[in-house]
Subunit: 209 residues, 2 copies
């Protein structure tokens, strides 16, 4: 078992008292080779399980591959774009989130299927953060390949690839990724996305104490 | 100012040690008429702000209407389906989440826009839960009407209507809604959505301790 690294801290630059798990969560590329215990993975997925969803449809699924099963791990890793394989190969766990695009009860389109996967995956992210496990979701994977590889049926769509594990040493990353790993987190101001009355009109309460 | 009600508890039926804010969050229909302070609203939206997103695009916006501005409130309330107006009219704050469907930098489609709104909105939900504010997201609203009413431009789409506020008295709900308010929360088992190797194959680690 390698020495445990403390997670690099990149807390959100905020003066507002948000939850520590939300403030401290970020998406690293450096992972330790320490395995993630089955019990821990179950807790992360249990957190996802209790997310809200449109008509309680629970349109999320997760395909999970662990490094100690090399064939399974390679199968999921192989769906990622090369730029993500470079670092994600060092994560002990990879996942693929999948959305149902139809209501199971009557097969009509569920316009919130992909959105509700986001609700569940953020529960997973924050539960992980609270347990010292770090999560990095990726858009960069081959949707067609993943659909083929796992036999994902019509009416379902792979949404995001997910790498997770305990924090690793940023020094072991290639230089370009190391720089991104150390860069501060940035976000648009509230006034750029909180509106009132009409589109793009910053909500007046943002200026109140 | 009316007497404060304690929130009705409907904790998730789970033996796994998930975060209390995730275990205790649920979506009520009974809201107190106690206003939500501007500062509290800012904290909720700040939590949303720090969600992860594909290429850090932050494709979420929120349109906010508060009850003490009756015209604004009616405008958003009027976009909801009648079945939601019945109870949502008693919430002190209504919102509409909106997704960008294109990357702002090059206008190419962002297939994660709606998903990433889900990540941000779950941050908002959990931040609210931690502050005693309850959130109920709704699929039931008129997407076209909301787009017109707020002048939401092409390339953006309203995703969910959101009611939020402090907990109210379920006894004041119509009888059918009161029954739903008191019903236990239910979810599919992990084995129904956590797979390994191929679609619909429950992950073996679910059976491990």
């Amino acid at each position: 078992m390698p020495a445990k690294l403390l997670a690099m801290k990149k807390p959100a630059d905020t003066s507002l008292p948000i939850l520590p798990v939300i403030r401290e969560r970020w998406s690293p590329r450096a992972f330790s080779d320490r395995p993630v215990e089955a019990q821990t993975l179950k807790v992360l997925l249990e957190a996802a399980r209790w997310a809200p969803s449109s008509f309680n449809e629970q349109p999320w699924s997760y395909i999970v591959a662990m490094k100690h099963q090399p064939e399974e791990f390679q199968r999921l890793l192989g769906c990622l774009v090369p730029g993500n394989q470079v670092w994600a190969r060092n994560a002990p766990v990879l996942m693929l989130s999948v959305a149902s695009l139809k209501f199971q009860r009557h097969s009509k389109p569920n316009r919130h299927g992909i959105h509700d996967v986001g609700l569940a995956s953020e529960n997973l992210e924050l539960q992980a953060q609270s347990m010292g496990v770090m999560v990095h979701q990726m858009a960069g994977f081959d949707v067609e390949a993943a659909t083929q590889v796992y036999g994902i049926p019509e009416g379902f769509v792979p949404v995001a690839a997910i790498a997770l594990g305990y924090p690793g040493d940023p020094k072991l990353l290639p230089e370009d990724l190391r720089e991104r790993e150390l860069a501060p987190r940035e976000r648009k101001p509230l006034s750029a996305f909180v509106f009132s009355g009409e589109w793009a009109n910053p909500a007046p309460f943002l200026g109140e104490d």
